[in-house]
């Protein structure tokens, strides 16, 4: 019964979404309020039906309804309760439901928020969003139906992919998809602005805020993905330049470029065309990312292999890009900028460079991801470019971006005088140089790491300098330091939110540099009772025990670790044997620390427990990634909070319009 009901609900949602998109477009074109109300009701209906779809599937999971193929493929009677709920998005079909549902939720928010305030832009934006929803519902109806019936009904299911039995699985896809789908809102408003020809300030304000929101979730998704990779996959890394990671990273880069270049448009009325292009690119890249993940065209640890769905995404992507860029070409006359660049030493030019480097990074990631495909198609030669390529090309680009991060927010608009440069940068540059020199004295030998440290210290100094000046100015009005700081953060939340994000990036940069340069590892086979040593740790192999869990069986090794001061901790890495998997899966154990993590992977072992092979890694400064990530997301959250009205209404002093 459930498969048929689910399918019926999906089809109903598809019909409603198509109708709503049509009615919305017609109401916008002809100015008919009755049709508009009707398309709003359709948007609400689509959300209700998709919610019903999700609940129905969750219900099927909770009741082990193996007549639904998706349930049978992704769970079994031993799957723990929480993972029966998250199995909802554990594979292709369910993840499309989640996607569609989030999109319908964003549509609903747009209806609630802009129905009254944006009478011109809103109807077209609604039509575009419902049109995109229609596509995802079409995918749910034809190439990837989540409610496909399985017959005969099996006694038990296949079980969830064991790698997905992790708490990261609860949050990572949700955050990532909220980011991906979130970029639909700016795209829809950009399209609406192009259609009605009002490419002025309203769409920019709406688009900017929604881009920050989507960017916030996408950043969160990427960070949790890194954490999942680190503590589940057992290779001791957080980022592998895997095609699917790249797919999520590319829209992040273009959205970051937009968040910066949009400030030039707000301030100087320049770069309208460029900003629209960035919005279209970002949205297209989210579709391209989904295409990469779902089509199985590129082998990847996260890719779901399904053939027929790829062509749907490819055609839709082609239509979206064709439509959007045609609209852009049609309105090109209205998008000409009104001002020009005055000087190389100006904030505009710093931001332009920032955009150039971000787009270059996005392009190199794109190029490296599709290069194997291109090479095979053109030369018939199978090749791959892995992490070495991405690291080699991106390290200089990201170092340049860090440098600009220090320059951009402080340099003057239009033309920076020598006095402005001296006042803002002399001290930070000096502190940066001293910082790098100090690191050298403390024994940092790697040149790239030294450069990175120097740049990070320089940028941190610019942020501190700016903040100190602003807080001092506020203190003159009688506030205490704490009040002054707090007041600044709240009153100019976009600027200071941006600074906090920058600080987060700096901490992450140190984590990346440190972990790349100073991590160390060894692998050894140890007899029971014997030990292996690495970097001051002594790891003794004590015991090997079998443990039975509800849906698997595992062999747990016990290792007692002591450091120079004495006993440190006991780690228990394991190997898990799932009946549905042909080969075992390693379960890492680790002890996180501020400067270094101890990370143990159980390799081979003797069946009588007499010896075991263990990989020991000392991963340095990895925690900085998570701390930096936390700072970054806090900063983004601060920037999302609406600015107080009085700040927005006042003519802005120079340093307000930056985030």
């Amino acid at each position: 019964m459930t498969p048929e009901l689910g399918y019926a609900v999906t089809v109903a949602a598809l019909v409603l979404a198509v109708y709503g998109a049509g009615a919305g477009a017609l109401s916008a074109a002809k100015g008919r309020p009755d049709l508009r109300a009707s398309s709003e009701r359709a948007a609400i209906g689509v959300w209700l039906l998709l919610t019903a779809c999700m609940l129905l599937l969750v219900y099927a999971f909770l009741t082990f309804d193996f007549s639904v193929r998706y349930v049978a493929n992704n769970t079994n009677r031993g799957t723990p309760f929480y993972y029966r709920i998250t199995a909802l998005w554990g594979a292709l079909e369910g993840s499309i439901i989640l996607w569609g549902w989030m999109l319908s939720l964003y549509t609903l928010i747009v209806v609630g928020r802009y129905r009254r305030t944006q009478p011109q832009l809103y109807p077209w934006a609604l039509a575009v969003m419902l049109g995109i929803s229609s596509f995802f519902l079409l995918v749910m109806t034809i190439p990837a139906p989540p409610f496909e019936r399985l017959s005969p009904i099996p006694a038990d299911g296949r079980g969830l992919n064991p790698l997905l039995e992790d708490s990261g699985m609860i949050t990572h896809p949700v955050a990532l998809y909220l980011g991906f789908t979130g970029f639909t809102v700016p795209f829809a408003f950009a399209m609406a602005a192009l259609i009605i020809g009002r490419t002025g300030d309203e769409w920019i304000t709406i688009t900017r805020r929604w881009t920050i929101i989507a960017w916030y979730f996408l950043s969160l998704g990427l960070l949790i993905g890194g954490w999942w990779s680190y503590h589940v996959l057992g290779w001791g890394g957080y980022w592998a330049w895997d095609p699917v990671e790249n797919a999520a990273f590319m829209p992040w880069l273009t959205a970051t470029a937009f968040l910066h270049s949009v400030m030039i448009q707000e301030r100087r009325r320049m770069l309208k065309l460029w900003n629209l292009t960035l919005i279209i690119l970002t949205f297209s890249l989210t579709l391209f990312g989904t295409f990469l993940t779902r089509s199985g065209i590129i082998g990847s640890v996260h890719a779901f292999t399904q053939g027929s769905i790829g062509i749907f995404f490819l055609v839709f992507l082609a239509l979206v890009m064709l439509g959007a860029f045609s609209l852009l070409a049609w309105r090109i006359e209205r998008l000409r900028g009104r001002s020009e660049l005055d000087s190389i030493f100006s904030r505009e030019s710093a931001f332009l460079l920032n955009n150039l480097f971000l787009i270059a990074a996005a392009f190199t990631v794109f190029f490296g991801t599709v290069f194997p495909l291109l090479s095979e198609a053109v030369k018939g030669q199978k090749v791959s470019v892995g992490a070495p390529f991405f690291n080699l090309v991106n390290i200089p680009i990201f170092l340049a971006l860090i440098f600009l991060m220090g320059v951009g927010p402080l340099i003057a608009w239009r033309r920076a005088s020598a006095e402005n440069l001296r006042r803002n940068f002399l001290l930070p540059v000096a502190i940066g140089v001293v910082g790098a020199a100090l690191c050298r004295v403390l024994g940092v030998g790697n040149l790239l790491v030294l450069l990175c440290m120097g740049l990070v210290v320089f940028v941190a100094a610019t942020i501190a300098l700016d903040f100190w000046r602003a807080a001092r100015a506020r203190r003159r009005t009688g506030d205490g330091w704490l009040e002054a700081t707090w007041g600044l953060a709240l009153r100019q939340n976009r600027r200071y939110g941006g600074f906090v994000v920058h600080l987060g990036i700096l901490v992450i940069a140190l984590g990346v540099a440190g972990s790349q340069a100073w991590s160390t590892q060894t692998e050894a086979t140890i007899n029971r009772g014997a030990s292996v040593e690495l970097a001051g740790y002594t790891i003794r192999f004590d015991d090997l025990q079998p443990v039975e869990e509800s849906n698997h069986f595992k062999v747990v090794g016990t290792f007692t670790v002591s450091d120079r001061r004495g006993p440190y901790t006991v780690l228990t890495p394991a190997k898990k044997f799932y009946p549905q998997e042909q080969t075992p899966i390693a379960a890492v154990d680790y002890r996180l620390g501020f400067m270094e993590d101890l990370y143990l992977v159980l390799g081979d072992f003797a069946r009588d427990g007499s010896h075991a092979t263990v990989k020991v890694q000392i991963n340095r400064m990895i925690s900085w990634l998570w701390i930096g990530g936390l700072i970054l997301t806090l900063g983004a959250a601060l920037a999302i909070v609406p600015e107080p009205r009085r700040t927005a209404a006042r003519p802005r002093p120079d340093h307000v319009v930056v985030a």
Binding site: L353, T364, V383, F389, E523, E581, Q582, I585, R607, T613
Partner: protein, 148 residues
Amino acid sequence: MKRRAKFLAGGLVIVAALAYLVYAGVTQSVVYFVTPSELGAAPVAGKAYRLGGMVQPGTLAWDPKSLDLRFTLSDGRATVPVRHRGTPPDLFAEARGAVVEGTWSRDGYFQATTIMAKHSEEYKAPHDGSQAGYKELLKTLRGPEPKP
């Protein structure tokens, strides 16, 4: 106009530098994907390859003490002996696909730095015979009285 030209020239210089960076990156780090027959036909010592094939049954030798792993990859027509230092990855087994990255050694074997076991994304339904030795393993670890 003159200022515009200057900006354009500056931009072009940066773009050219980035293009060179990408070009150098590709030429330095491109890894050719070869089959055992292709590698056997024209092996170049010291060049990075990614070699894909099936682990020939009966050739897998793993010495836990020295962490020395040896096996032969085959594509049905040719075979290549492979050596690696370290535990075989979880999904690695005889008669299964594997991709190894490394270099051809002058002494007539492929020195692998990474082993990537090919693993299908389709999760197989449990059936007898899969995970050979699973029950036996449970038994030996538990001692003589295995729990059902």
